[in-house]
């Protein structure tokens, strides 16, 4: 949660700088180069590859645990696909790319800004941050009405870190493992899915 707030603060300070054009003339049109994106994905890869938790979980639990991230991906895309036709000004493809961030707003907004444009990058940022916030707020209700997997599905990629504490609190320890697993798998899938959709 703390990190999310720091990220938002950086974003907001950036907006203020931009509006006051404090750095505007100096930086002009800032474009994070493609090389920076390569470096970021390389680093994200090291983080995923170096994460021990996933192997421990895979060794210890039933194969059905894979159904959780799978249901998140299918549920998200199947529902948003038709929905996108009712949202003016945004295409099916762009909609699917944005929700394929599964709450991983930092990486998804970087990727989408780079692959499309800043406007879509901002929508991706807002949409995926909201996914995290809504999960933090509604976890108790989701568990009550839709079962213990619901907040894990809603949290998406964030179910391995930022939303894990509240999910664990309302679903119990045995679901913490499922939550971490779901988050890791979705985190891994985000860059693939977005790149594939926007290619």
């Amino acid at each position: 949660m703390k990190k999310s707030i720091i990220m938002l603060i950086f974003f907001l300070i950036g907006i203020i700088f931009g509006m006051k054009s404090l750095l505007g003339k100096f930086i002009g049109k800032v474009d994070i180069s493609l090389y920076a994106l390569y470096v970021l994905l390389f680093l994200v890869g090291i983080g995923i590859g170096g994460d021990n938790r996933i192997w421990k979980i895979v060794k210890n639990v039933n194969i059905k645990i894979f159904l959780v991230p799978l249901s998140v991906i299918i549920g998200t895309l199947l529902f948003v696909g038709p929905l996108s036709f009712f949202i003016p000004g945004i295409s099916l493809r762009d909609s699917l790319a944005i929700v394929s961030g599964f709450g991983y707003y930092s990486l998804s907004s970087v990727l989408i800004t780079q692959l499309r444009n800043e406007t879509l990058g901002v929508i991706a940022l807002l949409s995926n941050i909201t996914r995290e916030i809504v999960t933090l707020l509604l976890t108790p209700l989701m568990v009550k009405y839709f079962g213990k997997l619901a907040p894990i599905a809603s949290g998406g990629a964030t179910s391995m870190d930022t939303t894990l504490p509240i999910i664990t609190k309302f679903t119990g320890k045995e679901y913490a493992m499922i939550s971490v697993f779901n988050g890791i798998i979705l985190t891994l899938i985000v860059p693939f899915l977005i790149t594939l959709i926007l290619r």
Partner: protein, 89 residues
């Protein structure tokens, strides 16, 4: 754009080789964090200077909210079926 995925794979490979070196992994996490902070700062500047975005911010926000609502509802429904069928004791 396939290069993006290539770099990700390269990272995963190197990450799994470095698994035992916790300091390296922790350093990577810190690096990613700062990378993201700086990126978001720049994205903020773009938003602040880009009139198209600034003027349409409300519209973009509403689009984002609808997409989020759809994503959450869709995945919660799907997970509910999986929960009932495979997980509920």
């Amino acid at each position: 754009m396939l290069l993006v995925i290539l770099f990700l794979f390269l990272g995963i490979l190197i990450g799994s080789l470095l698994k035992s070196k916790e300091t390296v992994i922790n350093m990577t996490d810190k690096l990613i964090e700062w990378f993201i902070y700086i990126f978001l700062f720049f994205l903020g500047i773009s938003v602040g200077t880009n009139e198209e975005i600034a003027m349409n911010f409300l519209k973009l926000g509403i689009q984002a909210l609808i997409l989020t609502a759809g994503a959450i509802i869709g995945s919660v429904i799907a997970s509910y079926f999986v929960y009932k069928k495979f997980f509920k004791a």
